[in-house]
């Protein structure tokens, strides 16, 4: 691999942490600590390889609702990230500007245009930053993705359209979703560069992302990367994949597990037990921190129901807020929180 050993080890650690957090999230859902979650198991390489390639000093990522691994790779505050699944705040409680990681977005394909717009801003500012839009095979059917690619092509914008083709959009398999069979094949129609990569090979993902970043930074415009991967778990904790796909299919992908694969390579390159043990330990620590953070997480103060609708709120909204907060039928707890919060 061209990627140096240190980097590979870093990617490995990030993947292990992501896998552990992902598993824990499902546990927390079962335990009632968080109401729902969209597992990414199997997609760690696609997310870590791309997210870790970004330069936090100048790039910007636009996630969907399944990019926890990217958040890990980019060093996003993870308790803040999980706050969204915790139901505390749609979009999460981390700072999207400081993190260079836009708020979690549940509208499929909704944020792809934002990445394009950010790239337009970067180009107008003569910067060398790049935006990276995450989207799924299902999202590729939305008109917004097409419009974003076309705008990016017309203006040679520094944006990476990063499709995690994980085989499924809830119950619809890719072959019923993506006419022609490949999202990356769409790129040529817009004059964009494209790569179809093994999304379960984190080094390949990392290097492809770096190539695309390089292209964009040097004025070469946008790239579509289609990372072929697989959503090993259910669409979300309320989904039942048994209704639409076979155990056999799921098991065949288990053989391609991105973490096992890199582990073998690292071992061959000399990583010892201590390294693997320390990766596991670190992961366990992160999991504990996040878990504790979520268990301790309190509901947002009631004022926040009203606080962020506008930067300059309307009088009517302030009236609604004041009337509600001063209402006798609110528990004292809330009322005092509202006053003090």
């Amino acid at each position: 691999m061209k990627t140096d050993d240190d980097t590979a080890r870093r990617l490995y650690r990030l993947m292990v942490t992501t896998r552990a957090l992902d598993a824990e999230a499902t546990v927390m859902q079962r335990q009632g600590i968080i109401p729902g979650y969209a597992p990414l198991k199997g997609q760690e390489a696609a997310q870590i390889g791309s997210g870790a390639a970004l330069d936090l000093a100048r790039d910007f990522a636009f996630p969907t609702y399944r990019e926890m691994g990217v958040a890990v790779a980019m060093g996003v505050d993870l308790i803040g990230y999980f706050a969204s699944h915790h139901g505390s705040w749609h979009g999460g409680l981390y700072d999207p500007l400081a993190s260079r990681f836009a708020p979690i977005n549940a509208v499929v394909a909704g944020s792809v245009l934002h990445a394009m717009g950010w790239a337009k801003g970067e180009k107008l500012s003569h910067g060398t930053g790049v935006s990276l839009a995450y989207f799924g095979d299902g999202a590729s059917s939305q008109g917004d993705v097409h419009e974003a690619m076309n705008f990016a092509g017309v203006d040679d914008l520094p944006v990476i359209f990063f499709c995690q083709n994980n085989g499924w959009a809830i119950s619809l398999p890719t072959e019923r979703q993506v006419a022609g069979g490949s999202v990356a094949a769409r790129a040529a129609g817009y004059g964009l560069a494209a790569e179809v990569i093994d999304g379960n090979d984190v080094v390949e993902v990392f290097e492809a992302t770096n190539r695309a970043l390089q292209r964009a930074r040097s004025g070469g415009g946008a790239t579509v990367i289609e990372a072929m991967t697989y959503r090993v778990g259910p669409h979300s904790t309320s989904d039942d994949p048994g209704r639409y796909r076979s155990i056999g299919e799921e098991q065949s992908w288990a053989l391609l597990d991105p973490i096992d694969r890199l582990a073998q390579q690292l071992r061959a390159a000399g990583a010892d037990d201590a390294f693997f043990e320390s990766a596991r330990t670190d992961a366990r620590e992160t999991v504990e921190t996040v878990r504790t953070g979520l268990v301790d997480m309190t509901d947002r103060p009631l004022t926040e129901l009203f606080d962020f609708v506008f930067t300059n709120p309307t009088p009517r909204l302030l009236e609604q807020r004041d009337a509600y907060l001063s209402n006798a039928y609110l528990s004292n707890e809330y009322a005092s929180e509202a006053t003090h919060g």
Partner: protein, 335 residues
């Protein structure tokens, strides 16, 4: 005789019967086939009626509605689903500039018997965009009709009426009520009864009362009945009107009710400003000005983005907020 059934099962039964009775009827959308829908409302229909009649589409709401229009031009009777309220927005152009206007544009040559099933409203602690109330937008658009059931029997019969109607109807399913079971007559009986008694656009007094009328739809109907029961303990006799149709609005039914109670409170989940409560309030004032003893009160969602779980109960009109509004109308004295 009367078994109980959930609204989810009642809608499933209606769709099954519609598909059996009319081979031009088609059910499609995201995950409605093999999976049977994320709420299992279409469970078993693809297996029974085949994948030509019940099918999954790629993930594109504008295309789902645009395809429905083309199918209707071809003579089909499309019953598309959009998976959640908040994902109807990508289809707005096709809904408003195309579906709602094709009959008009073609001078009746191309009727649009399309029923869009839209799981709607809040109350299930869902992620962003999964708890929205779009009725004010739809009701404002000429050429669209809007129906909202509050219970399984109505869900069954309203859906059949919507599909039979030659005009496009948005059928808003209150998802927080999907799993609530209620009495449900034999389908055939229910259908016959409802069709005889309640034509399109007619509301139902679900609880008669003398002192104040609560106007509601969807999940708010059950909440208003709760309010009525609590109010009854204090000797306040609340009438609850289940609108069932938001377009056409039952102006006569609303006016008749408020005409005798002389006080009204409209309740809805959508944000207050420019919500459908405004239309109903305006209509009541226009039609019952002389009898009104207090200004019509509105209890609605606040003018905020639909919030995450823990704040949801503060957003949706609560029993307390509705009771307080009832109280305000009763205590109102011209000053």
């Amino acid at each position: 005789m009367a078994e109980t059934l959930s609204m989810q099962a009642a809608i499933n039964t209606a769709l099954d019967e519609i598909l059996t009775a009319d081979d031009r009827a088609l059910v499609f959308g995201e995950d409605v086939g093999t999976l049977g829908g994320v709420f299992r409302v279409t469970d078993g229909l693809a297996a029974k009626h085949g994948s030509d009649r019940v099918f999954d589409t790629p993930l594109a709401e504008s295309a789902i509605i645009g395809m429905s229009i083309g199918l209707a031009i071809h003579g089909f009777r499309p019953i598309p689903e959009i998976q959640f309220d908040g994902f109807a927005y990508p289809a707005m152009n096709q809904l408003i500039t195309q579906l709602a206007r094709m009959t008009y544009r073609s001078r009746g040559a191309l009727p649009m018997p399309v029923t869009l099933r839209l799981p709607s409203f809040g109350g299930i602690r869902a992620p962003e965009h999964h708890g929205e109330s779009l009725e004010a937008i739809f009701a404002h658009v000429p050429g669209l009709k809007v129906a909202v059931p509050s219970n399984p029997s109505d869900a069954y019969s309203l859906l059949k009426q919507c599909v039979a109607d030659p005009d496009p109807v948005i059928f808003m399913e209150p998802k927080s009520r999907y799993w609530h079971k209620a009495e449900f007559g034999q389908p055939a009986e229910a259908a016959a009864r409802i069709e005889a008694e309640l034509p399109i656009g007619v509301s139902r007094v679900v609880r008669p009362g003398r002192h104040v009328t609560l106007v509601a739809w969807g999940a708010m109907v059950a909440r208003c009945i709760q309010v009525a029961e609590l109010a009854a303990e204090d000797g306040v006799d609340v009438e609850v009107l289940d609108l069932r149709w938001l377009k056409p609005l039952d102006v006569a039914g609303i006016s008749a009710s408020v005409g005798h109670t002389r006080r009204a409170v409209v309740v809805h989940e959508a944000p207050l400003s420019a919500g459908l409560g405004a239309e109903i309030s305006a209509l009541i004032t226009e039609n019952c000005f002389d009898s009104l003893r207090a200004p019509v009160q509105r209890v609605a969602g606040f003018d905020v983005a639909y919030p995450a779980g823990p704040l949801e109960d503060h957003y949706i009109p609560s029993v307390d907020r509705i009771l307080a509004a009832v109280q305000r109308t009763l205590e109102y004295r011209r000053g």
